[in-house]
């Protein structure tokens, strides 16, 4: 019996179906719609998928395809591994979390998430505070919101995600370019665009 692996939730008017390399070898992403919202899903044989690097990447890629196909689309992303036993269980969640989805879609409408990690070379001493202040001056005025993702390595100087309006994307890229010029001795790892995982607060229980 196949189950439903969920990538994210969109406004029902934005629902779409496409062929792609999806999680666990699935080849098609399609919508399960209930009233205002559509969950974009693929079929899967297990309710407990293993988080391999390949499937984690496919999950991100599918969300990016959803976000960027036909210009732009706002999607409330789900974390890797959310599986529902059947359509009915999924529709129950779409109904129960109606308000939360509505609020999240409004908050992230027209935005993308961009990631920035700044890494020091091994044994280099860096004035973290000065770098963080300079980066904040460049980027925070261009972002709708920003969150800290934690310094999980001694070499990390900064690790943040930014919620950025699609219209500000070019200005944001240019600001990153200036940071790269100013800190040639540091490794600047700029990633995205991602669906705004770090800026939505919808927790739904898979069944």
């Amino acid at each position: 019996m196949s189950h439903r692996y969920v990538y994210g939730v969109v406004d029902a008017d934005d629902a779409l179906e496409f062929e792609t390399e999806a999680v666990a070898g699935a080849e098609k992403v399609y919508p399960i719609t209930h009233r205002h919202f559509a969950a974009l899903v693929s079929d899967i044989e297990t309710t407990d998928p293993e988080r391999t690097d390949e499937d984690a990447k496919r999950h991100d890629e599918v969300l990016r395809e959803i976000m960027l196909s036909n210009g732009s689309r706002t999607v409330v992303p789900m974390r890797f591994g959310m599986v529902f036993e059947n359509d009915r269980a999924l529709k129950n969640v779409l109904r129960g979390a109606d308000r939360a989805f509505r609020r999240s879609l409004r908050e992230i409408d027209g935005t993308v998430e961009l990631g920035l990690k700044i890494v020091a070379e091994e044994s280099d001493e860096v004035d973290r505070e000065a770098v963080c202040d300079a980066v904040a001056d460049e980027l925070e005025p261009l972002a709708v919101d920003a969150v800290d993702n934690g310094l999980f390595s001694d070499r990390l100087v900064l690790n943040r995600s930014y919620l950025v309006d699609r219209d500000e994307r070019d200005a944001f890229d240019e600001a990153i370019g200036r940071i790269e010029d100013d800190y040639e001795e540091l490794i600047i790892r700029y990633t995205g665009p991602f669906a705004p995982y770090s800026f939505v607060n919808v927790r739904v229980g898979a069944q």
Binding site: K117, V119, F152, S153, R155, L156, R189
Partner: protein
Amino acid sequence: MFIIDDLLVRPFINIVDAIHTLALNEMYDVEAIEDELKENQLLFELGERSETEYRQRKAVLEEELAIAREVQEEFSSGRIEVKS
């Protein structure tokens, strides 16, 4: 005399218990292992760790993480007791 002995010895046992607890928490520190997993991924992405090194380290850390989670769960549920 039993009461005096007990009063004198008890604080030392408490300290030993606390040290054992700290050592256990450090040995099975879920957050520290998760951080190491993220660092492993970062070093791979930066090209400072080969794919083989990355995959080997990841497998070891994932195993350690599963054990640490299990131990912490048992520990917090009181199923593991520190004996001194």
